[in-house]
């Protein structure tokens, strides 16, 4: 039993391909409360999108499946064992999702209004067609699209990228879901639109008591949007905590590296941006020790032997790294943006 809105324990998701089994998420646990915003940060391919999609068992046409022993409690209902009917109730009403590329996430042959109203009318059969369209217009207004009545009749390719993303947001909140998952909502947009969309999401946060999960690789937007941050790498969580804890006193070398690679005023002078060497490990192979070991500057033999335990640093802050161990040499986090 848990008092959290969402409680995820040892979530593991794998893909079966004819070349073998790819273990994209390897045992992830976290929780989320109403009104709170959690950011999941990591390089692309670290399993963050797979994690959030697994919350709604959204596999699309891929051959993904949730491993045994995973548990996802949403309002104390176990999602992993939900059948089709329960799932369709959860999606839209329980959890809404905003996708990354607005250009391809809307059906080109259906009007924008229809694609919004469709969700409303499915979840609440009593709503008539006109009411649903009226509701859709209100939503469009809510997400800041001018003259919504006319826009409803238009088709996706008649709208700009930013506006389409707003439509996606409207769809996600159409049935006032409790959790809104934003899967890299701004990546496909240019900077100015990005700011508008973020500002819109922040407004939504204040106005509604919804919980948000922001999945991104762009640390720049995380600080002013999320409450808690989790750093994921190769299917596992390396460090998590409130945004202040993570930005001010990061404990994991990977988090240091991530923070260093954010272009800030100081680094501009040096001209070169810091980037982490190497590439993430092949998820098809079993990884014995810490997945980041091969690319970690402070790597020790023990790192490659065994996976470090999760060490709590404060009520909300914890890290999985051998540097925390008593026998490990004490290392100070490099100054933000400084060269190692």
């Amino acid at each position: 039993m848990s008092e959290h809105l969402l409680e995820v324990k040892d979530l593991a998701v794998s893909f079966s391909s004819y070349a073998g089994k790819i273990r994209a998420v390897r045992g992830v646990s976290f929780h989320l409360d109403a009104g709170e915003t959690l950011a999941i940060v990591g390089e692309s391919g670290c399993g963050k999108t797979v994690t959030v999609k697994a919350l709604m068992k959204l596999y699309g046409n891929s051959a993904a499946f949730i491993e045994e022993g995973s548990s996802i409690l949403f309002k104390n209902e176990e999602v992993v064992t939900m059948d089709r009917k329960q799932l369709s109730k959860l999606r839209g009403e329980g959890i809404g999702m905003i996708f990354q590329d607005p250009m391809t996430s809307l059906n080109p042959t259906l009007t924008v209004g229809y694609q919004i109203a469709e969700g409303i009318r499915f979840h609440d059969k009593s709503v008539s067609k006109e009411e649903a369209y009226k509701r859709a217009a209100e939503l469009l207004a809510l997400v800041g699209i001018p003259s919504p009545e006319e826009r409803i009749k238009q088709y996706p390719h008649q709208l700009s990228g930013g506006m389409r993303q707003r439509v996606m947001i409207a769809i996600a909140i159409a049935c006032d879901a409790d959790i809104i998952i934003c899967d890299e909502p701004t990546t496909a947009l240019d900077v100015t639109i990005q700011a508008q969309v973020l500002e819109l999401l922040n407004e939504l946060k204040e106005k509604t008591n919804k919980a948000f999960i922001l999945v991104t690789h762009d640390l720049g937007i995380v600080f002013d949007f999320a409450d808690r941050i989790q750093v994921m790498y190769a299917g596992v969580i390396l460090e998590r905590g409130t945004k202040y804890e993570l930005f001010d006193e990061p404990h994991h070398p990977y988090t240091w590296a991530l923070l260093n690679s954010v272009p800030s005023k100081q680094s501009q002078r040096k001209g070169t941006l810091y980037s982490i060497q190497g590439t993430p490990p092949d998820l098809m192979m079993d990884i014995k020790g810490c997945p980041f070991a091969d690319r970690c500057v402070y790597c020790m033999p023990i790192c490659k032997e065994r996976m470090p335990e999760e060490t709590p640093l404060s009520e909300t802050h914890s890290v999985c790294c051998w540097l925390e161990h008593s026998m490990a040499p004490k290392v100070k986090a490099p100054a933000a943006g400084g060269e190692e």
């Binding site: 369709s88 999606r91 996430s105 088709y155």
Partner: protein
């Protein structure tokens, strides 16, 4: 939009005129005189008036002109050579509906069954429905029509005597020929449907639809189908046009008074009028169904429709460029 349709109809008649005239010239330039068998041992006098009766004694271009004049004034396509006394359009009016009836039934059942199998095969890739779909496609295209007709006829009328072997009358004569005619559309449309559905199913907007909690059936019906209609509709035009010609083999196997037999015999016996009339019928329906398909493009795909509108506004003066 109306201007666009009118322009297309004009094009239709132009294409019809060109094709029928070319066929007229082609069939007349093939050596071999169709009237030999009937007039071989007639005296010179009667032989000449026999040719005159069909206007064959005039130069080719004059004959072509007379053909179109006859058609435009009296709407007649000329008298058949092989069946004296019967005008070509009589055959079309009497028998095309029968062939069409059979064909439409076969196509409707075939296409709907094929699309269902195709969707299933796409949704369950490399599992049973997929292999079943491929098997049906294989069956449909590799079994020649006459083998299928022979098997169906033997099984249903000789072994079990459930149906009359041949002849034409009430609905009961419909069953076996239609059964034989459904196999090939099922095969074709199953394969094409699978291919297009596979393309659409991986699109992002399907994931969005799923994230709204819509059941799979609704997603297939509302989202997937709409986007797969484009190629499927394109294929409907030629198959619909082919129906009027009837299927020579099925109609001769089941003794059905359709156009199929006339279609093939005409060319074999160089029955000029019938060949031209048959081609006229085929081209007219084919070109008409193409127009319908192009209009359907506009209905199905809003992008095409909007582009047609925008271009017209942008290019005010000349012809709207549909695509």
């Amino acid at each position: 939009m109306a201007r666009y349709i009118i322009k297309r109809i004009l094009y239709m008649f132009l294409v019809l005129f060109i094709v029928v005239s070319t066929t007229f010239i082609m069939i007349h330039s093939i050596p071999g005189d169709p009237l030999t068998a009937t007039v071989e041992n007639l005296p010179e006098a009667t032989r000449l008036n026999y040719y005159a009766r069909y206007g064959l004694d005039k130069p080719l271009m004059v004959q072509l002109f007379r053909f179109w004049k006859l058609f435009l004034t009296e709407g007649s396509l000329g008298e058949s050579l092989k069946y004296p006394g019967r005008m070509a359009e009589e055959f079309i009016v009497k028998y095309a509906p029968i062939s069409f009836q059979l064909g439409i039934w076969g196509l409707v059942i075939g296409v709907s069954l094929g699309m269902m199998l195709g969707i299933n095969a796409a949704l369950h890739k490399n599992k049973l429905p997929d292999y079943f779909g491929t098997f049906v496609a294989l069956l449909g295209t590799c079994i020649p029509a006459f083998v299928l007709a022979a098997l169906v006829q033997y099984f249903f009328t000789v072994k079990h005597k459930w149906f009359p072997t041949a002849g034409w009358g009430g609905a009961i004569y419909f069953v076996l020929p239609v059964l034989c005619m459904t196999l090939s559309p099922v095969a074709t449309y199953c394969r094409y449907m699978k291919s297009t559905v596979l393309d659409v199913i991986n699109q992002d907007y399907i994931l969005t639809a799923e994230s709204k909690g819509l059941p799979r059936g609704l997603i297939i019906w509302r989202h997937v189908l709409r986007n797969t209609l484009m190629p499927i509709v394109t294929m409907l035009a030629p198959s619909v046009a082919g129906l009027l010609g009837g299927s020579f083999i099925i109609e001769s196997m089941f003794a059905i008074p359709g156009l199929g037999t006339y279609f093939v015999k005409a060319i074999n016996s160089r029955d000029y009028t019938m060949v031209v009339a048959m081609n006229f019928l085929f081209t007219a329906t084919y070109v008409f169904s193409l127009l319908v398909v192009d209009l359907l493009y506009l209905v199905i795909d809003p992008r095409v429709r909007l582009e047609a509108k925008q271009n017209r506004r942008a290019v005010a003066s000349n012809v709207p460029n549909e695509n």
